[in-house]
């Protein structure tokens, strides 16, 4: 354990940067006593999520908690502080040909803790599951300043409740993640992507279903719908399928996938190496907001078989005609950008979208709204049935309600 150094205070933003987990917990304990709201802060990349933070909130940064604590390549496990970036973790793991099969946007700047708290995922979810499946344990500073752990550092563990799962996607409202243990995977020998230009969404969805039939098992399968622009008379629909594993199996799957595309008389291209990576980096950008403030970024979840209907609904209810959508087949998640909108149209559109998705067993979350709309929209949608349980838990762990007060659904 490092000696506790006095935290750095920045007068500009009420920013505090503790150098140890204990110091971070101490800040929360004091804030709870003072009932002062706190905004947990990794790299700050996902601060657009939810409603605006209270102006007097302390910005509690994990950026000085950025050490890898224990990496056991022979056990395929890693324990790290939460303020480290995903790319820094990846670089360490790559030296032993291992990885965390998780590809959210902005890995170069985003911190592990921030990514987990904001529920960030990526296209690899289809083949490898979500971080929930790779997280073995955590240390978390609860809202009242208690530093608690759950899970362990071994790959199998049923001792006690899996409290760590509660912090995934909780936007830091139960506690601040300070340390995480992951299970790791060997890097696949080969990764190759095919992209297919489709005539329309319906065709892309049919093709996606065929590309999941045995023995095909893509690790990512995205359908990207782009609006018409100055150069193209009509919008485009692109299907991308990525295969990973030993070279022989990948080659056979690629060739089978190309044959399926050919049966539909569609042109397919194959991408390997850096080109493979850049296809997915491009698709991931739709999961993050653009750099201007005129777009509504939506996340939609439905049972996987309803993805086509959900993507249709995203187009149909869009208040303007400029819609970008990346849907993840087999997973049931989609991100969409709705452009150029004003408040009333947005509210109406969102109500319509939620009504359609409700019929499909799905939901829509507004991940980012233009600043002028943020307070007016129902960002998270209807309350979940288990909300009273969630509130009862939060009341115990964050009794003064200081963590991201007023920003989340709970």
């Amino acid at each position: 354990m490092q000696q506790a150094r006095p935290p750095v205070h920045s007068t500009m933003t009420h920013e505090i940067v503790p150098h140890t987990a204990a110091a971070l917990a101490g800040v929360l304990r004091d804030a709870t006593n003072d009932r002062r709201p706190v905004t947990p802060w990794g790299a700050g990349l996902h601060q657009y999520l939810g409603y605006a933070a209270a102006p007097e909130a302390l910005q509690l940064s994990t950026r000085a908690l950025n050490r890898i604590i224990e990496y056991n390549p022979a056990d395929l496990t890693l324990t790290t502080e939460a303020g480290i970036t995903l790319d820094d973790v990846r670089r360490t793991l790559a030296t032993h040909r291992q990885w965390l099969p998780w590809d959210p946007p902005a890995p170069g700047t985003a911190t592990i803790g921030g990514l987990l708290a904001s529920g960030a995922g990526g296209p690899l979810r289809l083949g490898y599951g979500s971080p929930r499946d790779w997280t073995l344990g955590m240390r978390v500073a609860l809202g009242d300043g208690r530093l608690v752990k759950s899970g362990g550092r071994v790959v199998k563990n049923v001792a006690g409740y899996d409290l760590h799962k509660l912090h995934l996607g909780a936007l830091g409202t139960l506690g601040v993640i300070v340390e995480v243990t992951f299970k790791l995977a060997p890097l696949p020998d080969s990764m190759t992507t095919i992209t297919v230009e489709c005539d329309d969404l319906a065709q892309a969805c049919r093709l996606a279903a065929q590309l999941r039939e045995r023995p095909l098992a893509p690790v990512s399968l995205a359908i990207v719908s782009e609006p018409a622009n100055g150069n193209a008379a009509r919008g485009s629909v692109l299907l991308a399928a990525r295969f990973a594993g030993a070279a022989g199996g990948v080659a056979r799957q690629i060739s089978a996938a190309l044959s399926i595309a050919a049966l539909h008389n569609l042109n397919a291209s194959t991408h390997t190496g850096d080109l493979d990576t850049s296809v997915w980096r491009r698709i991931s950008t739709i999961g993050a907001p653009p750099d201007h403030d005129r777009t509504l970024l939506l996340r939609v979840g439905v049972p996987p078989s309803a993805l086509h209907d959900a993507m249709n609904a995203l187009q149909r209810h869009a208040p303007g005609d400029s819609v970008r959508i990346a849907g993840h087949a087999g997973v049931g998640l989609a991100h969409a950008w709705w452009q150029e909108i004003e408040a009333h149209a947005a509210m109406r559109a969102l109500d319509g979208l939620r009504a359609s998705l409700g019929n499909l067993g799905g939901y829509a979350v507004v991940e980012r709204a233009p600043e002028a709309l943020r307070a007016q929209l129902n960002l998270w949608g209807p309350s979940p049935a288990a909300l009273p349980l969630m509130q009862a838990l939060r009341q115990r762990w964050d009794p003064a309600g200081i963590l991201n007060r007023g920003r989340f659904i709970v």
């Binding site: 071994v154 049923v158 899996d162 969630m390």
Partner: protein, 495 residues
């Protein structure tokens, strides 16, 4: 720390007779068992170590009846204990303080199988293996495969977060449950999780799976189904010594190979399994590894070659590949029938369940040999080596005075060594009654307090499966006194 001391047992507001009458009125007398001979079956689970008699057993036929029975018992302050097939190995379904056992045996329907979304909706009493049989038609199966899978139920698997040999590659039960309907102690019915991924809110389902019946009772589950692999290879690697077998396991994982399953059997266990199951294990081997890889046909040859090279380099005497499905099934029958077969060595057993980092297997296995010698016990290791999940099976004959205390002490020493090596006190059997007091080996009071707070959020009445999983409750210390009523080794127990 406060919650440790403030936990108290609720006051019982109905007499047993009144409780039985209320339950019978509400869900029908046929669903309420209360005669002594009817209750006997519900006193113990697969561990057969801790026993306690329930006051009444209800066998509801619907979610609504579960909710009604739970509401009546909960409001009256009686303990409520969910029970699936009773195959648990840590006392999870033993009614430690008496109370109402809620048997989910009648909720045994597969509601539907959805091949397009690769999921199934099942009632909690569906037997694990039956779901895979039903899904086989679609080329799908339910991946968690505890050795008890021909008897244990999916509700019980979820409560215990059950594992199994193939969880090495496919994950344990928690990775395969995506939604559940649960009944809380006030009788309310709540839906956790969703077929739509990542719905906003806390992942309460993630905390619920593995909660050993302490948060609520599950009455319906939506579970993931996994596509059957295109091809499978199964090998038996044979060793004259324990250590090279353990070294092989560590070396396979360190080489970045994650097989579908990687199991070890050793010592006298191999001989008795062969005698009783005729699995094809060489009876003169000191250790064998049962290794399975699956996936695309194209990739298996290369992977098989690498595994064989590693095993031989570590000192394997020989390596046999199953020629066909029948031979593969026999190799697995040996593994899954191991516990029953070991009854031939000694009539009674105590199974431990600890986890170590996979790089530390050799030293912890060596320690089990040393413990066996020091405590004068037979210890056979049959376990999920690829996960580092040890199952030392301590065998003894209760007619020998003092042997039980010796076995328990030996088990405890092994478990402590697992923790000291950076591991944990249970990989899949659960904490239940058996390991509650060991929780402080791995968790601080604050950690346990946070868990108790989760429990209090779900169960403010403090009636759901009391005395289990977490050290709490003034009267729970008495339960250990019930020990000593061990039964002869059950032919139907699995590890």
């Amino acid at each position: 720390m406060a919650a440790f001391d403030s936990q108290h047992d609720p006051v019982r507001r109905l007499t047993r007779i009144e409780l039985i009458a209320r339950l019978s009125d509400a869900i029908g007398p046929r669903a309420v068992l209360h005669r002594r001979e009817e209750l006997l079956l519900y006193e113990y689970d697969g561990s057969a170590l801790d026993m306690a008699e329930p006051d009444v057993v209800v066998v509801p036929g619907s979610t609504a009846d579960v909710a009604t029975a739970v509401r009546i018992a909960g409001e009256a302050g009686w303990p409520i204990i969910a029970r699936g097939a009773g195959t648990g190995l840590s006392g999870g379904s033993v009614p430690a303080l008496g109370g109402v056992v809620v048997s989910l045996a009648r909720l045994n329907r597969i509601v539907h199988i959805d091949p397009e979304n690769r999921l199934a909706v099942v009632q909690p009493g569906v037997v694990n293996a039956d779901l895979s049989v039903a899904a086989a038609h679609y080329g799908l199966h339910f991946a968690p495969d505890p050795s008890s899978q021909k008897s244990s139920t999916i509700g019980g698997n979820a409560a215990e977060n059950a594992g199994g040999p193939h969880c090495l590659k496919y994950g344990v039960t928690t990775n395969h449950v995506i939604a559940a309907t649960i009944v809380l102690s006030d009788g309310s019915i709540v839906r956790l999780g969703s077929e739509a991924p990542d719905a906003p809110g806390y992942d309460l389902l993630g905390a619920f799976v593995g909660s050993e019946g302490t948060l609520g009772i599950v009455t319906e589950l939506t579970v993931r189904l996994t596509p059957d692999p295109e091809d499978v290879r199964t090998f038996l690697a044979i060793y004259d010594d324990l250590e090279p077998a353990a070294d092989s396991v560590s070396a396979i994982i360190a080489a970045g190979i994650v097989p579908a399953a990687l199991e070890m059997l050793e010592g006298e266990g191999i001989r008795v399994i062969e005698e009783s199951v005729h699995a094809g294990y060489p009876t003169d081997a000191e250790a064998v590894l049962l290794i399975e890889i699956d996936g695309l046909r194209d990739d298996l040859d290369e992977q098989a070659g690498r595994i064989e090279a590693i095993c031989r380099a570590c000192g394997a005497r020989d390596l046999h590949t199953a020629r066909d499905e029948a031979q593969r099934a026999r190799l697995w029958a040996g593994r899954k029938g191991a516990l029953a077969a070991c009854g031939r060595i000694r009539p009674h057993y105590h199974i431990q369940d600890g986890v170590v980092p996979r790089s530390r297997l050799t030293e912890v296995l060596r320690l089990t040999k040393d413990v066996a010698a020091r405590y004068n016990l037979v210890i056979v290791n049959i376990f999920h080596a690829g996960d580092g999940n040890l199952h030392p099976l301590l065998l003894f004959d209760l007619r020998e005075p003092g042997v039980l205390d010796r076995a328990m002490a030996a088990g405890e020493e092994i478990l402590y060594a697992c923790v000291a090596a950076g591991g944990t006190i249970s990989g899949e059997h659960g904490i239940g009654l058996e390991k509650r007091d060991y929780m402080t080996w791995i968790y601080d009071p604050d950690d346990i307090c946070a868990m108790l707070e989760l429990r209090a959020a779900f169960d403010p009445y403090n009636v759901m499966n009391p005395c289990k999983q977490l050290p709490t409750g003034a009267s729970c210390g008495d339960v250990k006194h019930a020990r000593g009523a061990q039964r002869a080794i059950a032919a139907g127990a699995w590890v």
